[in-house]
């Protein structure tokens, strides 16, 4: 698989190879082959993304998964801007698996890395423009006029008082050649892109009709739940299913590679049956895994340098010469993604065809994995992408765990079956954000300037051992482990960032904002410590070090200004600031916090400034910032997956709390006007919030918390109130 990944995610982010050209011709499919049942006699389908019916319906085939980030609206906006269609006539279809829908950079069908708008902007604009030109050409031919005298407007081609709708022109336009070159609109004349627009998927999401994977219904569909090993790397030694099989509704109990599946007529009997299974497990080598011991192992690794990810100057020598030196250690736990829709996958397997319905971010990989399990060719597997009840990276899994397992169960069942994970299964099922431990030192000269920075990171690699290893791991360093740390923008003459990559059987995965989710916490917390050690204001200290990074500096200044940085706050409250670049966007956040007598942290208000370049839907950008801040806040205040005797200790939202309404801060988002290439917005809102809150807590209490999630007892102890 790795040979089809043309460029690693990080290379892509580095080079900003966003609007690579020449893709429109590559995306044309043979007529009517785009996505199903369009009648070629009356339908105009100039490319894989657009179908216009004689009834004026404009069907847009979207190759990105809608998991909340708004791609079913932002990508249509890009097409509609050029196509000049009637927005109300737009229908969305999820793309089938086909190379034509591959990510323009990663080379497979995937939604991730906050790349959808960045990578599809040019391709979809051209797709819309080509269709528009063909509709205009069809009308001009019918009227026997110069196409240049016609224009496209809200679903019609118009000329001197005459007009024809796109539906009326569809059949004729379909017979015309696809233009080789298309002229795109001048962004200054955009009517749709860059202006707030209501989401196309909202109505279905509040009346219960939006179809998620878990909602799929088929005639004769069975439901299965699977008992999986309680320890990662464990296996079934033996099992008896006599009691389970007696539960009314249980149809069968079968062993699959991932455990023991109870197949029933519905979820409840399947779950009841599972509770009655007697399974003897072999825990394997991780049977003794415990978080405190793991922490000790990581702590000792952090005391010596690892593989060097970045080195400039001679940090060790500079440290020795410095007037002041400071060192601190930081910790961030394993985290579950915990999307609201627990994992599930529905499979209808026949001898020569397999249909799969699931909410996935990873269509090509899942389709190919399913084919392997089913013993079919990839093209015999038809994967139908539903809405995703949250993804956050969990549904982009190189191992295709929930898809492979469901195909195994379907094979055994011999009937269509939907595997549903309970919340406990989902939370204990692995593929976590890695556990991280960081040691970091810095030195200051006698005027308070940073002279050296040395950062050692300890944590598992996500890509190692997957088909993505060759593209993402270079010289032993997984890009995702050091992103946000290796390329810090601050002007420091001597820098070293290095990495230890311990191996564990705990499966880890990309978690919304990936490496940035911990590196921003460490770097921006420690930058604050350095500012205080230098006796300088944390905002002014950063600002001075960012003189050569105008976009960082711009959002930093905007956030500080909007937050009233430096102005007095009510007693007990503190303000903290953090700035971080990720996924092509620059974000600064200011948090206002206080802590009560129990050490409970209250985040009152968050001011967020973002520079994400050119925008498509500003309201979506605001929504994604709010979303990222609250997602990051859940991790900062509550989230931790821990192990005892090899087993995950958390199983539901009581043991793994997330921010709720009563803890949700007021959030203000300010978007920096920009003509820069577009940046991502799905993930970049997450990284700055934990350090902004940690820095605000220090301002409010004088206590520096360096372990996530923030521990109320540690805060009280620090305040001398423990």
């Amino acid at each position: 698989m790795s040979e089809i990944i043309r460029m690693s995610r990080r290379d892509f982010l580095k080079t900003g190879a966003v609007l690579s050209g020449g893709l429109v011709l590559g995306c044309y499919l043979p007529f009517g082959n785009s996505a199903g049942a369009a009648d070629p006699a009356t339908t105009f389908a100039p490319n894989a993304f657009i179908r216009i019916g004689s009834d004026d319906t404009v069907t847009l085939i979207i190759n990105k998964s809608e998991m909340g980030q708004g791609v079913y609206t932002s990508l249509p906006m890009l097409i509609a801007e050029e196509l000049a269609c009637d927005w109300k006539k737009i229908r969305i279809e999820a793309a089938p698996v086909d190379p034509v829908y591959n990510h323009t950079v990663f080379g497979l069908q995937v939604t991730g890395g906050s790349t959808s708008v960045r990578t599809e902007w040019e391709r979809l604009s051209k797709a819309g423009a080509a269709a528009r030109e063909m509709l205009i050409a069809a009308a001009a031919r019918q009227w026997k006029v110069d196409p240049a005298s016609c224009r496209a407007e809200n679903g019609f081609v118009v000329h001197a008082g005459k007009k024809l709708s796109y539906g009326q022109l569809a059949a004729k336009a379909a017979k015309l050649p696809v233009p080789q070159e298309v002229r795109l609109k001048d962004p200054a004349r955009y009517a749709i892109v860059g202006k707030p627009r209501h989401r196309l998927d909202s109505p279905a999401k509040i009346d219960g009709t939006a179809l998620f994977g878990i909602d799929v219904q088929l005639p004769g569909l069975l439901t299965a739940v699977v008992a999986r090993p309680p320890v990662f790397g464990g296996k079934v030694t033996s099992f008896t299913a006599d009691k389970a099989k007696k539960v009314p509704g249980v149809v069968d109990v079968v062993q699959v590679p991932s455990g023991v599946a109870v197949i029933a007529t519905g979820f409840w009997p399947a779950k009841k049956g599972r509770e009655l299974l007697d399974i003897v497990w072999d825990d394997g080598p991780e049977g003794g895994l415990a978080t405190p011991a793991l922490r000790q192992q990581y702590v000792s690794l952090a005391q010596s340098p690892g593989l060097v990810a970045r080195k400039e100057g001679e940090p060790a020598q500079a440290m020795q010469k410095a007037a002041k030196q400071l060192t601190a250690e930081f910790e961030a736990p394993f985290l579950a993604h915990a999307p609201m829709e627990p994992l599930n996958c529905c499979v209808d397997l026949k001898s020569d065809r397999c249909d799969i319905w699931t909410g996935t971010q990873f269509q090509t990989v899942d389709r190919n994995s399913a084919a392997e399990v089913a013993g079919l060719k990839p093209e015999q597997v038809h994967l139908h992408t539903t809405f995703l009840g949250g993804g956050f990276g969990r549904r982009a899994n190189p191992a295709s765990d929930f898809v492979r397992e469901a195909v195994h169960v379907a094979k055994a069942a011999g009937k269509p079956v939907k595997v549903i994970w309970t919340r406990d299964d989902d939370m204990k099922g692995g593929f976590y954000r890695p556990f991280w431990y960081d040691r970091i030192s810095a030195s200051l000269d006698d005027t308070g300037n940073l002279t050296a920075w040395q950062h050692t990171i300890v944590g598992q690699s996500i890509a190692t051992g997957t088909p993505f290893e060759s593209a993402m791991v270079k010289n032993g360093i997984d890009d995702a482990s050091v992103e946000g740390a290796a390329e810090i923008p601050y002007a420091i003459p001597n820098i070293q960032v290095d990495l230890h990559t311990p191996k564990l059987l705990v499966p880890v995965l990309w978690w919304r904002s990936v490496g940035h989710s911990h590196t921003a916490f460490v770097v921006e917390s420690f930058m604050d410590e350095a500012a205080h050690a230098a006796g300088k204001d944390p905002f002014a200290f950063r600002r001075a070090l960012l003189a050569k990074h105008p976009r960082h500096k711009g959002v930093l200044e905007l956030a500080a200004a909007k937050a009233g940085w430096g102005k007095p706050l009510p007693a007990g409250r503190g303000r903290g600031i953090a700035v971080h670049e990720s996924f092509g966007s620059f974000i600064a956040q200011v948090a206002e916090v206080s802590a009560d007598r129990k050490g409970t942290v209250k985040v009152h208000r968050v001011i967020c400034a973002i520079d994400c370049g050119r925008t498509v839907n500003p309201d979506t950008i605001r929504a994604q910032m709010e979303s990222g801040i609250i997602f990051g806040l859940s991790a900062a205040l509550h989230g931790a997956i821990t192990f005892k005797n090899g087993k995950v200790e958390q199983d539901n939202f009581d043991g793994y709390p997330v921010v709720r309404m009563n803890e949700s801060p007021a959030i203000e988002v300010h978007i920096m006007p920009s003509k820069e290439p577009p940046g991502g917005v799905g993930e970049p809102g997450v990284p700055p919030i934990a350090p902004a809150v940690a820095n605000a807590l220090f301002a409010a209490t004088g206590v520096r918390l360096r372990t996530l999630p923030f521990n109320p007892k540690a805060l009280l102890d620090g305040m001398g109130k423990g």
């Binding site: 909340g68 998927d201 609201m340 009840g389 609250i630």
Partner: protein, 154 residues
């Protein structure tokens, strides 16, 4: 056979009385707007109304609600003020928790037509949203109440 009244329609379902209402609504009645989130009454995705009160259908045995008036998201009229406010404030992201959020908000507004931020906190904190739509939910509830209050609490 258990007699159920869901969204004003009468149903007879052939299930054990201990089966949670959630699975009967989803699997027998095929009303899939009500969602499975946690199975323990911790997240609110499965919220329905039983005799006008919000209830977590994932921990409500179907036998306990026989004959009672059950309303699911499918039973909330299209023009309802809460749905209109949800659209106006563009609340939904992934959307999975939103039916439960809407059901909790409808029940809240029945009890408190002009809810304070404190009322919203107590009525809505049982409903988790992993996409973090809380600030917009708060604004939408105020909007539905006619207050059109902007932003969250200070």
């Amino acid at each position: 056979m258990i007699a159920l009244n869901v969204n004003g329609k009468a149903y007879q379902v052939d299930v054990e009385p201990d089966v949670p209402l959630l699975w009967v609504i989803r699997e027998q009645l095929k009303l899939t707007g009500t969602k499975f989130g946690c199975g323990e009454g911790l997240c609110g995705a499965c919220t329905v109304h039983v005799n006008g009160e919000p209830a977590r259908s994932c921990i409500t045995p179907v036998g306990d609600v026989a004959g009672k008036k059950i309303v699911t998201i499918e039973g909330i009229p299209a023009g309802h003020a809460v749905k209109k406010a949800w659209l106006a404030e563009e609340v939904s992201q992934c959307g999975y928790c939103q039916p439960g959020q809407v059901m909790s908000a409808v029940a809240l507004l029945k009890k408190h037509p002009k809810p304070t931020d404190g009322d919203i906190d107590s009525a809505m904190s049982g409903n988790i949203c992993r996409c973090g739509t809380y600030p917009r939910i708060r604004t939408a509830i105020h909007r539905a109440a006619g207050a059109k209050k902007k932003g969250g609490k200070p």
